[in-house]
């Protein structure tokens, strides 16, 4: 994808020297980009008095885990509970969303039936509806279903996405027909073809959609803010905001809470980096 040779020991000296200014610019930018994250971590290990001391303490003088200890054990922190809510919601949402999109994209890309094009364009055109338009009516529906403050409200309303169907249909359409026909000769039915022929060939796009769905749910803010309001049902992004209003002047604790919420995603990102960036490239490619 993005490559035209790698940097290695054999790279000629003249190229290293020529690239030096570019490297310095990148290094400076990288330091600026990392500074807020470093500052968050550094502060989270400082005793409260040190957090606002001047001159700035770049490295904690008396590092302590007290902030982490307090926010994890504090009766009104509930950070672990919010993490669980976010994790459960994101996994459940991703599973249902990807499954529904696979099932819908399969006939839309590989079967002939009446109304196929119309239905596909109908689903596609739903992507033109801005989220704010359905926010309030869906909220009223949640009230009517008695789903406020339940996982149902967090999971179900977004599972039938237009984008997922679009992405998968695009990919499924590119797979060669011959494979499918060979399986059919062997007596496979359409479900077996989907499970044993199509899906194994679609792992990259499934991972892409999965990662996107997970991140979308994990970082969702507006919807959970209004449908999951009790402290026990809040998700991490929402809970963290209420937490930050409580500890607004206790920077050590505030940053420890923020770090606890950030570290799992940062680690997950480093593990999934390749897929994530490929996925973005895949979904945004214009040529």
């Amino acid at each position: 994808m993005v490559s035209s040779g790698r940097y290695s020991r054999s790279t000629p000296r003249w190229r290293r020297v020529r690239d030096l200014p570019r490297f310095i610019v990148l290094a400076v930018l990288a330091v600026i980009f990392l500074a807020p994250l470093y500052w968050m971590l550094s502060t989270s290990f400082k005793p409260e008095a040190e957090t606002i001391s001047i001159p700035v303490q770049w490295i904690p003088k008396n590092p302590t885990l007290e902030n982490y200890n307090e926010i994890i054990n504090s009766p009104d922190g509930k950070l672990l509970r919010w993490t669980w809510n976010s994790l459960f919601t994101a996994f459940a949402f991703t599973f249902v969303h990807v499954t529904l999109c696979v099932l819908a994209a399969y006939p839309l890309s590989r079967m002939r039936f009446k109304g196929r094009e119309i239905w596909f364009w109908f689903i596609l055109s739903s992507m033109m509806v801005p989220g704010i338009v359905t926010l309030i009516p869906t909220y009223i529906m949640m009230l009517q279903f008695n789903w406020i403050d339940t996982y149902h409200a967090l999971i179900w309303p977004g599972v039938a996405g237009g984008f997922g169907v679009f992405l998968l249909r695009q990919f499924f359409s590119t797979l060669p027909r011959e494979l499918e026909e060979a399986a059919r000769m062997d007596g496979a039915n359409s479900l077996q073809i989907l499970l044993f022929v199509i899906l194994p060939l679609s792992v990259p796009v499934l991972v892409t959609l999965g990662v996107f769905s997970f991140m979308g749910s994990w970082n969702n803010y507006v919807w959970p803010l209004y449908v999951a309001t009790s402290p026990d049902m809040q998700t991490l992004p929402v809970g963290l905001t209420s937490f930050s209003q409580r500890y607004v002047t206790e920077y050590g604790k505030l940053m420890a809470g923020t770090a606890l919420a950030a570290i799992p995603v940062l680690v997950a990102y480093l593990l999934a980096q390749r897929y994530l960036e490929q996925g973005i490239a895949l979904t945004g490619m214009k040529e």
Binding site: V2, S3, Y7, R16, D19, R22, F23, L26, L29, F33, P36, L37, W39, M40, I52, V56, L100, L103, A104, Y106, P107, L108, M111, W119, L124, S125, S126, M128, P130, I132, V133, T134, L135, I136, P137, T138, I140, M141, A160, Q170, E181, R184, M185, S190, L191, Q192, N219, Y221, Y226, P237, L240, S244, Y251, L254, L266, Y269, L276, I280, G284, M285
Partner: protein
């Protein structure tokens, strides 16, 4: 293909998953269609219905008021009209400032990172990483970076340059700085990744031809890279404009819309009207007016995606 009829002799079995059953495609579509109709199609109509009535959470009977709530939005004497348009101007201001930064900086980073360089993968990860944080983590972080007393930005300004403290979070105008800086930090890596993918698609031979003609780096960037990236730039600009108009979390967490509603975004005001004032009908009307304005950008994005669809079909 002739053999196909041999292994599917029992035509018409309604739950048989083979080609003989005309219902099979619809069975696969059904689960998605059910949720799609209930949670996407129906709410659009229902929202319209709500906006034509005076929706009362405590009552079964909703009074029909027609276009009243829409008319209120265009009647300057109502508070709804004042706050709605003010928040729309705020959001437009944010979009006008942040979009060029998010497109330009992303292009800059991508060009810096495209050719191989020591530590390229690490740099890419560093620039992309902030984007995976949730909006509240990002907001809390930048609210604190720009804190009046102990925020890193003011502390550095004072300690290193002896400049006076700027009350970023509580001064009209300045309050946009933390929101915009935070947003650029948070999302520029995403656009950068799109640009990197597009740069990968430009053939080397174009640059080699330019080399023969004696073009310098700037001339190559100006006359080859920029024009060839134009479709990507259009796509990134449209998606960024759309995303910027959805501004919510950053304002909510960093400034809470203040001071004096100067950083309140449209989505923030609509949700305040709906869930703070319980004016669900008024808020629905705003959502439709705002949605109609957004439709222009959404249609452009949609067309760009459909162009993509048609190119891949021809392959």
């Amino acid at each position: 293909m002739t053999r196909a009829s041999d292994w599917s002799p029992r035509r018409g079995r309604l739950f048989a998953l083979n080609d003989s059953n005309p219902l099979v495609p619809y069975l696969y579509l059904l689960p998605h269609a059910a949720f799609f109709l209930v949670f996407t199609v129906y709410p659009v109509g229902y929202g319209l219905w709500v906006s034509f009535h005076r929706w009362d959470l405590l009552s079964d009977q909703q009074e029909f008021v027609g276009l009243t709530f829409y008319r209120n939005l265009f009647d300057p004497s109502t508070p709804q009209s004042q706050f709605f348009w003010k928040s729309l101007i705020n959001t437009t201001l944010f979009t006008l400032i942040s979009t060029p930064l998010l497109v330009g900086a992303a292009l800059g980073l991508a060009v810096l990172l495209y050719r191989p360089i020591f530590g390229r993968a690490v740099f890419r990860a560093i620039f992309f990483m902030p984007g995976i944080l949730s909006v509240s983590v990002m907001g809390i972080l930048w609210r604190w970076m720009f804190d009046n007393q102990s925020g890193l930005v003011n502390v550095i300004r004072q300690e290193f340059w002896g400049l006076p403290v700027i009350q970023f979070l509580t001064t009209e105008g300045w309050a946009w700085v933390p929101i915009i800086v935070g947003t650029v930090w948070w999302t520029v890596g995403f656009n950068m990744t799109l640009y990197l993918a597009a740069l990968g698609g430009i053939s080397h031979s174009v640059y080699e031809a330019a080399d023969i003609d004696g073009a310098g780096p700037w001339a190559k960037f100006r006359h080859i890279t920029v024009p060839l990236l134009a479709p990507t730039t259009l796509f990134i600009t449209v998606t960024t404009v759309l995303a910027s108009f959805q501004l919510f979390g950053q304002s909510q967490v960093i400034t809470n819309g203040g001071p004096a509603r100067s950083t309140q975004s449209v989505i923030m005001y609509i949700t305040e009207e709906a869930f703070g004032n319980y004016q669900l009908s008024s808020a629905s009307a705003m959502a439709f007016v705002f949605g109609a304005l957004m439709l222009v950008f959404t249609v452009i994005q949609f067309r760009l995606m459909v162009k993509d669809l048609n190119t891949s079909r021809e392959r």
